[in-house]
Each structure stands twice: as structure tokens, then as C-alpha cells.
Amino acid sequence: MTWKLFSLLLEASLMTILVSAVSILMGLVMAIVLSGLRMSGSRVADAGAGVFISFFRGVPLLVQLLLIFNLLPVIGITLPSLATAIIGLSLCTAAYQAENLRGGFEGVAPGLIESAEMAGFTRMQSFIYIRTPIALRMTFPALVNEAILILKASSLVSVVGLIELTKMAQNLSASTYRPLPIFAAAGVIYLAINLVVAAIGQRAENALPGLPGK
């Protein structure tokens, strides 16, 4: 395992981090919107969000990625593989994050919503300023967990042609015929990234005010 090979892996891991981070954040925004639709009081919106969530939780990510990759050109959209990867991953994580958030939203004490109502907030304002921040805090550990899952799942996006850590490892092992040290190194890099994510998550969790039990 030369430094040259390792530095190529490190470089590719930046792509892994980029795709995952953007997908997590976009997925979070989408998950909040999905939660809003579910609680909007409109049956159509609720059902739509429900179908979206069932689909993206029920179909394997690899199949989703291949579907998007093959579907977009058919409807006349050609996107760079980075964009395709981010769309696929963020749609998938949005569904999971919406499910995680659901528990948080259900855990917001009714009295907190009533006091928002009495303070004159509209439904939307109450959702934005009161319910969502509280739900996010209550489900923050699940969000960190989801970030780690997505970092690992991002190894699948090579199927849309993106060269991230796993794809780079495959390429290098094919060209050097030394898969073992290369995949071992890739594994160590994934592990290191996830340990950092977990540590940051822990620190952020401790710093967040208003978590239950604090």
C-alpha cells in the first residue's frame, strides 16, 4: 500500500463525504416538508407523503439509483453523475428521516402547541418555530445515526458513474491486483469518517439546549 494509492483513496473519500453531507441536508429539508404535509390536515397531502415514504423505504437503494439513472434520460433530463447520486441518496434518506421525525413530532407535548396557538402563531408558524425545532432535538441521535448509514450507503452510488471511495478502491484493486490492502484501507477510512461523525454528533447533542432530560 503506497502513499500514492492511499492518497487517491483519501481524495475519493472527499467525494463520499460531499455526496453524503449534501444528501443528508437535502433529505432533512425534504423530511421536514414531508412531515408538514403529513400533519397539514389535508388527506391528499398526507396520502402523497405516505406513498413517497413507503416507496423510498421499501425499494432497495441500488434499484432506486438505477431507476433514476435510467429514467432521467428517458424524460429528457441529463444530469452529471454527482447530481444523480445526490438526488437518489437524498430522496431515500428523506423517507427514513421523515419516519424518524414522526416520533419527534408526536412527542411534542400538546401544551406547547396550545401555548403557540394562544401566542397568536399560525399553524405554519407553530410548525416552523415550535414543533420542528423540538422534534429535531428529540430525534437528533437518530439523525446522526442516519448520517452514518448514508455515508456507508453512498458506496452504492458508483452505479451512476460517480467515483467515490468504494469505486476508487475497486478501480485501484483492479489495476494493482492487490485488493486486500486497498479494501482494508478503504474500510479504515470509512470507519474514521464515521467515528468523527459520531463524535461531532455527540458534542452537538450535548450542546443543544432543550433536549429531554436536560
Binding site: A109, G111, L112, E114, S115, A116, E117, M118, A119, G120, F121, T122, R123, Q125, Y129, I130, P133, I134, R137, P209, G210, L211, P212, K214
Partner: protein, 261 residues
């Protein structure tokens, strides 16, 4: 003739099969304090929540300063739109037994946010105003603490400041001291006493009979969903003729209030 601050007219409330409020009519005049007492389950909270339309009466109507609350008047009675309801409600401040402060905001944030988002004040104006309101309840030093870092009594005073910051003309309290340790009830009751002396219209559900006797202009006694009594403390405590009231007072009367007898 001026309208009463709160006019409850023939209000009944059912939860499924259970009749919780039975044909209740009462008025609260502007600037007066009515204390709602009665046994557990008699419907005190439900009546108070109806006065804020947090609970919808099954029949009857409620007017706030002459304006209908929840439903429009007239032959085409319909539910008020959210905006109409907000406008009538803006005169009402509510304080809950469980404080209900938003846990992700500091005391200052709790008081300031509605000023910003509902009243459209700038952040600095809202925070100045919020700070003044916290000062009034003696919590200026705690402005940057989160609810979890405050005692129950302090949280309840923040909740009062939060309601007062929006300039209500009516304040509703649902057992504001019942979740507090006995040594903390005093600080909250003092803030409420002060508020009453400034002429705020208040309805207070309370088990603090001493407070009701000394601060209440009227005492309302609920039993089994019926309003059996709505009269001055003197009338209620000096000559309890209703056997149910007498029985209730015997159970609840603390030494201070029994001296009034």
C-alpha cells in the same frame, strides 16, 4: 353599557357520552378577578379552556369583550376562520399548570418570539420589550437561561411574562401553582396579586382557597359540571348554603381561609 370582558352563555360541553359542563352562564366584568374552584373533575379546566376556544363548547356561546369567540354570531352561525379566531384570542393570555415554555428557547426567546413573528417587531425591539416584561416578574437575571435551567416557579413567571408581553386584556390561569413545590407558590401568587391590583381581568382556576378569598372579586364554584355559585368571597365563605360547597370547603379549606368563616 359596556360588554363584560367574558360572557359565557349557556355553555355545555360533552366529551363523547360524558357531560362535563352543564348549561353554564357567567360574566366576568373588566378589571375583575374570578376564581374557579371545585372538586377534581368538576370541569374547571374545561370551562377555562372553552374561554380560550382551546376546547369547543358543544352548545352555548362565549363572547370576549362583546365579540364572539370561535363561532360567528347571527343566523349564519359558522366557525370563525383561523385569522378571525386569532384576532379575538389576541386579547387573551393563558397560563397553564405545566408552564408550557418552549424548551428550545431561552426565557427571553420565549417571551420575544411572538412579538417578532406575530407582532412583526424587530428582534431588538422585541427583546427590549421582552426584557422589560421579565424584569417585571423579577427574572431579568435569568433571561438567558433555558427553561430546564429554571425552577418551576421561575418557569411559571416566564410563562406569565410571555403572555403579558402580548398585551392581553384578559388573563386565564389554570392551576398555575399546582405543579410547584409549596415554597415556590408564593412567588407566582405574588406576581398574580400584582397583576390583579393593576386591574387585569383574570380568571383563575385554583386550589389556593386563601388566594381566591383575598384576590378574587368573585368566586365561582363548579360541581359536576354545574356552576353552583358565582359570588363574592364573602358570600361564598361566610354563608355556604349549598351543601356541596360546604362539603368542598370542609375538605379544601386551609387554616387561613377558615378564619374568614
Amino acid at each position: 353599557m359596556t360588554d363584560p370582558a367574558i360572557n359565557v352563555s349557556h355553555v355545555s360541553k360533552q366529551f363523547g357520552e360524558t357531560q362535563v359542563l352543564r348549561d353554564i352562564s357567567m360574566q366576568v366584568e373588566a378589571g375583575k378577578v374570578s376564581c374557579l374552584i371545585g372538586p377534581s373533575g368538576s370541569g374547571k379546566s374545561t370551562l377555562l379552556r372553552c374561554m380560550a376556544f382551546l376546547e369547543q363548547a358543544t352548545s352555548g356561546s362565549i363572547h370576549i369583550e362583546g365579540e364572539p369567540l370561535g363561532f360567528t354570531d347571527g343566523p349564519q352561525r359558522r366557525r370563525q376562520s383561523p385569522a378571525e379566531l386569532r384576532r379575538v384570542r389576541s386579547r387573551i393570555g393563558m397560563v397553564f399548570q405545566q408552564f408550557n415554555l418552549w424548551p428550545h428557547m431561552t426565557a427571553l426567546g420565549n417571551v420575544a418570539i411572538a412579538l417578532r413573528k406575530v407582532r412583526g417587531m424587530s428582534r431588538s425591539d422585541a427583546e427590549d420589550r421582552a426584557m422589560a416584561q421579565l424584569d417585571k416578574v423579577g427574572l431579568k437575571e435569568r433571561a438567558h437561561h433555558y427553561p430546564a435551567q429554571l425552577s418551576g416557579g421561575q418557569q411559571q413567571r416566564v410563562a406569565i411574562a410571555r403572555a403579558l408581553a402580548l398585551d392581553p386584556t384578559i388573563m386565564l390561569f389554570d392551576e398555575p401553582t399546582s405543579a410547584l413545590d409549596p415554597e415556590l407558590t408564593g412567588e407566582v401568587l405574588n406576581v398574580m396579586r400584582q397583576l390583579a391590583s393593576e386591574g387585569m381581568t383574570m380568571v383563575v382556576v385554583t386550589h389556593e382557597i386563601g388566594f381566591a378569598a383575598s384576590v378574587g372579586n368573585r368566586i365561582a364554584f363548579l360541581d359536576g359540571g354545574r356552576l353552583l355559585f358565582h359570588d363574592t368571597p364573602q358570600a361564598v365563605f361566610a354563608a355556604p348554603r349549598e351543601p356541596r360547597l360546604e362539603q368542598f370547603l370542609d375538605t379544601y379549606l386551609d387554616r387561613g381561609a377558615s378564619m374568614l368563616k
